[in-house]
């Protein structure tokens, strides 16, 4: 009996468990998923919690409910991977041997990485919305806030869902407008990027969007520390931005178990072949989702596209054939823009997000890089798609490989 071991039962681990459960012969393979918690959060929902659009209990479900019957779920922390001995040590003291390992331990925020960010003001005048606790506390705070200077600060790249900060700003603009206090709130984005987003065309379009909504952008700001007394952000080059309310996207890092295993890069992301998803230099180890160092977006949609490639590669690999399916970096993200509208971007390693139309049989076309109500519905529908199709490893009507259909190239 061979053993398929999946570390992490979040988006990526759950998708892969579902796909492999129906493909691997039960007489040949047993499959185990290890995760430290019972609760599976729909993380894209965190964005809506601060504005009272979703409540936390509406976006969390029991992890086990999404794992098929034949999967063994082990509730435990992961201590360390010993790739040489093909064994994973758990915090429970148990050691699990594997024949094939999938690392899907994701990424988390690390406010302690920025000098002065994590102190008694964290949760009072400085918040995050990337964790259940952070999003909840911010929701409480916003209800009673009288206004002032709201600064959204991105500490450093890469971050999970790189459009989430922009969506937060758009929703904040709508939220304060609807409460009749937009004139009392000064909204700022402070980012290490040279513009609103990473790639030229979308950066320009999204930048214009921010401008139209009266949101000020401070680009090229490499956050060095937070001065709590004066309530200001200080960059490494000593430029400063003051705030009344700081919404922070702290440094995102891979899990500490990766560092303990001596595997990660400087941010604990696992060096991974960007096409085959095999861990660099390790036998029988693959990496899926946010845990890898791939230059693709860290997003659930990307984990889904990757999973189709990884699925093929694992089936080849366990038959002793080379992994030859290639991931192209495909990402497809709805961007909530407030007031019941949204945008959609679709891109890969080589092709930046372009304007045009995104054909989707039955529902679409969605508008690319342009605001429309249908994109907002796409975003809201994503929660249903996530629990009912995506996690279950079902085919979605979008191909893993990016298509140029409908895109306008100039």
């Amino acid at each position: 009996m061979r053993h398929m071991l999946i570390l992490g039962g979040g988006t990526a681990g759950t998708i892969m468990a579902n796909k492999l459960a129906s493909a691997l012969d039960e007489r040949d393979w047993r499959i185990t998923v290890v995760d430290g918690t019972e609760e599976h959060y729909y993380q894209p929902g965190f964005l809506f919690v601060p504005f009272g659009i979703y409540r936390m209990r509406e976006i969390v479900k029991p992890r086990r409910q999404y794992l098929p019957g034949r999967i063994k779920f082990v509730l435990s922390g992961i201590e360390r991977i010993d790739a040489e001995k093909k064994t994973v040590m758990l915090s429970s003291g148990e050691a699990l041997r594997y024949d094939c390992l999938i690392i899907a331990t994701g990424a988390d925020i690390h406010p302690e990485q920025i000098d002065g960010l994590l102190n008694e003001e964290w949760g009072r005048s400085k918040f995050d919305f990337y964790t259940p606790k952070g999003a909840d506390r911010l929701a409480q705070f916003l209800k009673g806030w009288q206004g002032g200077k709201l600064v959204l600060s991105i500490a450093e790249m890469p971050i999970k869902c790189p459009v989430a900060p922009l969506e937060f700003l758009f929703l904040a603009d709508a939220y304060f407008t609807e409460r009749g206090m937009r004139d009392k709130v000064d909204i700022h984005l402070v980012t290490p990027l040279s513009g609103a987003f990473t790639k030229p065309v979308s950066s320009r379009v999204l930048g214009e969007f921010l401008e139209r909504k009266g949101i000020t952008v401070t680009p090229d700001f490499d956050l060095g520390r937070v001065d709590n007394k004066e309530k200001k952000l200080v960059a490494w080059d000593e430029t400063e931005v003051s705030y009344d309310l700081l919404v922070s996207i702290p440094t995102n890092m891979g899990n500490a178990c990766i560092a303990r295993s001596g595997m990660g890069n400087e941010l604990n992301f696992v060096p991974t072949n960007k096409q085959t998803l095999k861990a660099d230099g390790l036998e029988d180890v693959f990496v899926l989702g946010d845990a890898s160092n791939l230059p693709s977006s860290k997003a659930g949609s990307v984990a889904h596209f990757q999973s189709e490639i990884l699925f093929q590669n694992i089936l080849e690999h366990i038959e002793g054939r080379p992994a030859c399916a290639h991931f192209d970096g495909h990402a497809n993200c709805f961007i909530e823009s407030g007031f019941g509208k949204g945008l959609l971007i679709d891109f890969n390693y080589e092709t930046e997000p372009l304007p045009g139309e995104f054909p989707l049989p039955g529902i679409g076309p969605f508008k690319l890089l342009e605001e429309s109500p249908i994109n907002h519905y796409g975003k809201m529908m994503f929660r249903w798609v996530y629990w009912n199709l995506l996690l279950r490893g079902m085919e979605l009507p979008i191909e893993a490989e990016m298509s140029m259909a409908g895109k306008r190239v100039r």
């Binding site: 890469p158 941010l267 230059p295 860290k298 990402a331």
Partner: protein, 105 residues
């Protein structure tokens, strides 16, 4: 394609204004680019960073992040920003004749 004139020779640049052909690079060219970037003199800590970047790029095909630079090159973040004001990762890559770091999206 943009070019840059150095010592009477036209050197090709990419869309980001970095060298289009890595083979064009030499230490004199690095000094020239540095001067254009407002760094009049390249001192030995500058060179340590530049050489570290080139070594990493040679091996891995992308320039290292600031975090990696400070962790492995032995130069702390504060000093890096003094050596290469306004975005050391991008600047040092340009002077080292490397493409703009891909970073992540």
């Amino acid at each position: 394609m943009e070019t840059m004139n150095i010592a009477g020779k036209a050197i090709e640049l990419d869309a980001d204004g970095h060298l289009a052909n890595r083979n064009d690079w030499n230490e004199n060219l690095a000094r020239e680019i540095a001067a254009q970037e407002g760094i009049p003199e390249l001192t030995s800590p500058h060179w340590a960073v530049i050489n570290f970047m080139r070594t990493v790029f040679e091996k891995e095909g992308d320039a290292p992040s600031i975090r990696r630079l400070t962790k492995e090159s032995g130069v702390d973040t504060k000093t890096l920003y003094q050596l290469f004001p306004k975005g050391p990762a991008k600047r040092a890559a340009k002077i080292a004749g490397l493409p703009k770091p891909k970073g992540c999206i």
